[in-house]
């Protein structure tokens, strides 16, 4: 594999927030690689560190947050060593983010047209007039109709889904190398969602843009992603292709996740959520992070963190069950011979 095709390499990333109540360990040793033109999907429980991972790459963590260990390399250069000015240039022109919550990035006191134009002027070398045209063009591409009227409106005058699309337009307008999309389509209906995903894939083909897609939407993951990371408690618990994850889940958390989806055949039943309370990041369990909620937990899960085991081609999972199965099958084979 060609090393120079790698855009982003995250290694053993640890990010914590130092709050009045103690150290919140949001990300605990995350490793992944992203190649140009590829799409990496991240799924995982609410609070598992998906957004914090994205913010760590961009270095836009809240004041109390800090990368405490590990590296984030962009084309081989460690971003964690870059100064504020270098990072400023990186954000926007090299790497754009679509925030989970549109109102975090839209300013309520400026019209959306003004904000779009400012972003385009800041990150590209377009003139004012070109920026204006580009803003309208981008709004049309993301399915906002009557863009000429909409640019004069303020964020609170748009519907939730429109705000989300404005933000997508803003991120894509600068044609970044890497696009981080944090739940980009949560507020969108399926038709518009399809239109937006198509637009992203088009840009990906045209410019070799790489995408990190954080989402809990199975359909989006399945149709877009080359590789999927499943996160739990700030770590990757399973990684592989969409088919591997959905048809052969190998971590108990992933299995539980797949059981809780509403389907056409369980309309009149209660859904099956994963039992127990979510992990407390102030007090991480010693062994497997999922252990306190796992029906299959064994003694070893309590005390030792499982390593990543290969369970198939391009499919790895950190769950002791796989080791047990491996032993069991070896024993069976051994006895049989």
């Amino acid at each position: 594999m060609s090393e120079n095709n790698t855009l982003l390499q995250v290694e053993n990333l640890h990010t914590s927030f130092f709050t009045d109540n103690g150290e919140v360990r949001a990300v605990n040793g995350l490793t992944f690689r992203l190649d140009a033109g590829k799409t990496l999907g991240i799924v995982g429980e609410s609070g598992s560190g998906k957004s914090v991972t994205a913010y760590s790459i961009m270095q836009i963590l809240a004041e109390t947050g800090r990368i405490v260990e590990g590296s984030v390399k962009f084309k081989g250069e460690d971003l964690t060593k870059w100064n504020a000015k270098q990072m400023q240039a990186f954000r926007g022109s090299k790497c754009s983010i679509i925030f989970q919550d549109p109102m975090t990035s839209l300013n309520p006191v400026f019209t959306i047209g003004y904000q779009l134009e400012e972003a385009i002027l800041l990150h590209t070398d377009k003139t004012k007039k070109e920026a204006k045209e580009r803003a309208i063009e981008m709004l049309t591409l993301v399915g906002v109709n009557e863009p000429e009227a909409r640019v004069k409106q303020y964020p609170h005058e748009l519907s939730g889904g429109m705000r989300q699309r404005v933000m997508i337009a803003m991120a894509l307008a600068c044609e970044p190398d890497i696009l981080i999309a944090d739940e980009p389509t949560t507020a969108l209906d399926v038709t518009i969602q399809a239109q937006i995903l198509e637009l992203m894939q088009e840009l990906q083909k045209k410019m070799g843009m790489a995408i990190i897609m954080v989402t809990h939407d199975l359909g989006v993951i399945a149709s877009m992603c080359d590789e999927i990371l499943v996160m739990y408690g700030g770590r990757v618990c399973e990684r592989g292709t969409a088919d591997a994850i959905f048809y052969h889940p190998a971590h108990e958390y992933t299995k539980g996740l797949l059981r809780s989806i509403p389907r056409a055949d369980n309309m009149n039943e209660r859904l099956v959520p994963i039992g127990g309370t979510p992990i407390n990041l102030l007090q991480m369990p010693e062994g497997c992070a999922f252990c306190p909620r796992c029906d299959a937990a064994m003694k070893i899960c309590l005390t030792q963190k499982p390593d990543e085991y290969r369970v198939g081609d391009d499919h790895l999972a950190s769950c002791w069950m796989n080791v047990k199965e491996l032993y069991d099958s070896q024993e069976e084979n051994g006895n049989g011979e």
């Binding site: 109540n21 919140v24 609070g47 809240a62 519907s159 399926v190 199975l218 969409a242 959905f246 309370t277």
Partner: protein, 351 residues
Amino acid sequence: MANEAKTTSEYLLEVEHLKQYFPVRQGFHTVMLKAVDDVSFAIRPGETLGLVGESGCGKTTVGRSLLRLYQPTAGRITFDGKVLLDTGEQYDENGRPVLDASGKPVKGPAIEPDMFPFRRQMQMVFQDPYSSLNPRMTVEDIIGEPLDVHKLYSSKAERRDKILELMELVGLNAEHAMRYAHEFSGGQRQRIGIARALAVNPKFIVCDEAVSALDVSIQAQVVNMFEELQDKLGVAYLFIAHDLLVVHHISDRIAVMYLGKVVEIADADELNGSPIHPYTLSLLSAVPIPDPETARHSKRIVLEGDVPSPLNMPSGCPFRTRCRYATEQCAAEMPPLSDRGDGHMVACWNK
């Protein structure tokens, strides 16, 4: 007072001819954006009405204006037998405005009681958790605020117990209580908003995309919680969401909106099994099945024609610019909602 007189009705909430227009500047003049245009529906006690439709069709605006977070342009809203709002327009049995000899609408007296007593009974979980929670407040105070406002506890300890109970209900850890709203993930914030809405034991909750930022497992937990509360306390919901599988799962009946108007209302299974309105048909054909194989091969349905805008509404039926069945009548007049049997209401001339 007229609005104090309780009328008996099988419904907890009745919305009639609700209109919500916003002025928008376009060039040198101001035009009216008709976000909600003549919407009527009713919800029984302990019932869930799902509300679905394209982004921007007016779902959030319906929720906000029926709680009078906006000043509705026109309409009549009755809650628990009391009038919440009546702007005075009169309608005949076909739903057309009653006009006097000179062609002006006949108006009765307008009624607009103080909302404070109703606030406790009617709550909303907001679509945008970030802007609806004060980032500088601790979770304990965010959830406790409505308890304070309505004085719903007798001691500090009781207040705290209530808050912790609510947090557990939505799957938040007790140690989260002292943390600030900005320290939470998107899905955690959404659950703080839900706990806050539940704090005052309301009879009715507008859930605006209340589970859309949650991963499927926590979504399942919260959906179950909504259903359990309904079984136990008889809470009614207006459940707004774009995920049709979740809406189908939780709703007793579903209303479909298109460009500010309700085009179809029916029992949830009935609507999914035998939809009638051309827009509902295309909406349902696009439900993504949570399976990679199917997702890869499913084709996106493309509705023909220009997507109209609420700034520039087509005459007659709002869907006619994209409808395969459109005829001259569709351009001339808006079809009324008519009953096609068992309360399956459809607004369409040709289907």
